[in-house]
Symmetry: C2
């Protein structure tokens, strides 16, 4: 049996504690898989582990950067999170001396991925981050190693459990967004400040990483168009259900004629499709290619699930399996051309609160027609009986494939026509 | 750039042609991923490639064994299929001289996996078979490398597209088994002799391989209990639908208190579950562990999809990534204790054609009670009006968790009581 792989781990929150626990608990089994033991020899954390059953007092220090570059470890595991210091400084310190790094830090990879992998490559250090996207789902390994010569055309999915939990609860229980958000916070699925999740920013980091892997391009999180789920109402979920759809917050990266389109927004997906039926905090990633379509479903967060991805990265390292972080050398990553959101093509769901006067429907349909937008369906719902007779009448449109620019022009024209009582709700439709 | 990896490929059927085509078509891209070119330098096949647009006449020979052990190649790719010669002889010839082998041959791995990996290990040759299970779905990589320290408790799934196509068509279109089988044959989804697929034997090979990977045990295809789908009728699918289930042919490998249970049989799975909603030729594999539950969905067959798995194995080899075929050294694989089918525990669906006389229901219920079997529901369907008034009355039972032995004893007793007009139909229920 070879010498152990000595692990130094920074961060003892939910994931860090779970990784420490898994390394200690399954040491014998991991040694069989890796061909050598994987030993946790040092941890850096100001606080003791969140999992209080772990006694790490003998190996705990406070300074992650000192741990990352200090002697006595063979690999540095960064589980502090955040795109700034100390996570960034610690990862740079380790890679800078050629020490392998494993991290679950999506923000760090999304924002600083390219310089970090260049640093890793320069110093011949492995840099693995399976846990950064999709928690325990091995989506990074699948995109990086699992698809042979397949030419990927699109990768998309439910990448944020908080949002999917809220949308599922709204849909299943007929409760409001605010109500379901509060429940998610109570259950620990959402942060006290939920903006990062519900605003779509967490999903944006993740889809930027997946896009890089799928298309062999430098990660470019700034190129992601982002909308959150705050505007989704029960009326939308009910209309979607009537029309055969579910509403999901998707991250989507797709190759278009002009470049790579990266976007995060609430999306109509068909009921009965795998993605459409994913409920609660579960995540799912779909990959389309010329050779096959794959969908991976699993937990996108949680200590044990995320730990299994971190430990899988460590087993790869201990076994001597190396792969370039994004599946190819840094010099071989392209700078993808950003496909502008205005050129996005697809169908749209539009919910309008139309003022109830003669000619309104004709005005709306006319403005759509001016932009060359064909309507697949137009449903005028009965006015809420409790409201006065001149309350706005909800109109729901489903369009055939069109583009974002035409849709925005049509809606701006309709707004100027003065036939809307509220801003229109627009949800893009994603085909299977 | 390093020297090319020179590939010798035996078998030019659907998969072999697709692999040859992918290697030629995506050579530049694969070189970027692998860090070196992957060159197809020789093929062995009596016939020209099924894909007639490929011109391989310059590199085609007839003898796969000579190719496997001859000079001028760095890796042998076996895509002839079948557990006997020439596939076995060719793989042995290559491994015997320390030459890496990639194969999609599930029968070969299921029947001769252990001696072959020992031969590979002895001669320090890599031996990869991602395409042997689940076609393009990277389930072998996931089980072997993707799950860190997770302790797997069960792996199961839809592993045969032919069966799932037939069951889907029966259910959706209300057509008979025979009718849907004929259609599958016409579409090329089923062989002229369909026994291997519809009898469950193909699924048995695949679940035996997955069980080995999941539980670190030597592959033992003889230990798989096998039932096919031939006995499934429209009445079963309709009753299942009423009760909230779908009927799928599953391969299941589960750790029990006494050992490893491996079984293939038609199975009731909940409607709305990921597995329950997989239609047509698509495959899906679910993995349960202490750390996470994963489901992978994709094409289980087809040239391009299967080729992508074969080529992924080649990219791993070309990149110098090595992993033991079953995730650990041959000496570390256990001999799993076979958990007897009679000890299988779970719920059951039972459809009985009861003779219509007083006391029949009481007799049936009594025999179940004698064996300690609790009934969750018992539905007596109306007799078919077109039939005579003493035609058998269909009775459908759903039991709570019990075991196979009790169920068989109860049914034997009921048969002896003379209250059945036909043999009972029994379908096991698999929990999510």
């Amino acid at each position: 049996m070879e010498a152990p792989l000595r692990v130094g781990l920074a961060g003892l929150g939910t994931v860090g504690s779970a990784v420490a626990g898994m390394l200690l608990r399954t040491r014998d089994k991991l040694a069989v898989r890796a061909g050598r033991p994987i030993d946790l020899v040092a941890v850096a954390s100001k606080d003791p582990p969140r999992d209080q059953s772990l006694d790490l007092s003998q190996i705990r220090t406070a300074d992650p950067v000192a741990l990352a570059k200090g002697s006595g470890i063979d690999v540095f595991v960064e589980l502090m999170g955040g795109s700034g210091d100390p996570a960034k400084a610690a990862v740079e310190a380790a890679l800078g001396i050629g020490r392998p790094v494993v991290t679950a830090n999506k923000a760090l990879i999304a924002k600083h991925g390219t310089p970090l992998i260049k640093l890793a490559e320069k110093n011949n250090a492995a840099f693995n981050f399976e846990a950064a996207v999709g928690g325990g789902i091995p989506v990074i390994k699948t995109l990086r190693e699992g698809l042979g010569g397949a030419e990927i055309s699109r990768v998309y999915g439910i990448l944020n459990g908080t949002c999917n939990y809220i949308l599922t609860q709204m849909q299943k229980e007929g409760r409001s967004f605010e109500d379901c958000l509060k429940e998610a916070q109570k259950l620990g699925y959402a942060e006290a400040d939920p903006t990062f999740d519900i605003g779509g920013f967490d999903t944006a980091h993740k889809i930027a990483i997946l896009a890089s892997l799928a298309f062999g391009a430098e990660v470019d999180a700034d190129a992601v168009y982002v909308e959150g789920i705050q505007s989704i109402t029960l009326a939308d979920l009910e209309a979607a259900d009537d029309l055969g759809y579910r509403v999901k917050l998707l991250g989507v990266a797709v190759k278009t004629e002009t470049g790579v389109e990266q976007r995060v927004h609430p999306t109509m997906v068909p009921k009965g499709s795998v993605i459409g039926e994913i409920d609660g905090v579960t995540n799912a990633v779909a990959i389309n290619s010329d050779a096959l379509d794959l969908t991976l479903v699993g937990p996108g967060a949680g200590g044990a699930a995320t730990a299994s991805a971190v430990v899988a990265d460590l087993v790869d390292l201990a076994s001597g399996r190396r792969v370039a972080p994004f599946g190819r050398g840094a010099a071989k990553l392209t700078k993808a051309v950003r496909a502008p959101m205005l050129e996005h093509e697809g169908g749209y769901y539009v919910r309008l609160a139309a003022v109830d006067k003669p000619g309104t429907a004709a005005t709306i349909a006319g403005r759509m027609a001016e932009q060359g937008i064909s309507l697949e369906s137009i449903v005028q719902h009965r006015r809420d009986k409790k409201k006065s007779s001149d309350a706005p009448a909800p109109v729901v449109l489903i369009t055939y494939g069109t583009n974002e620019d035409a849709m925005r022009n049509a809606l701006n024209a309709i707004k100027k026509d003065g036939v809307l009582a509220e801003n229109p709700q627009v949800i893009r439709i994603e085909k299977n």
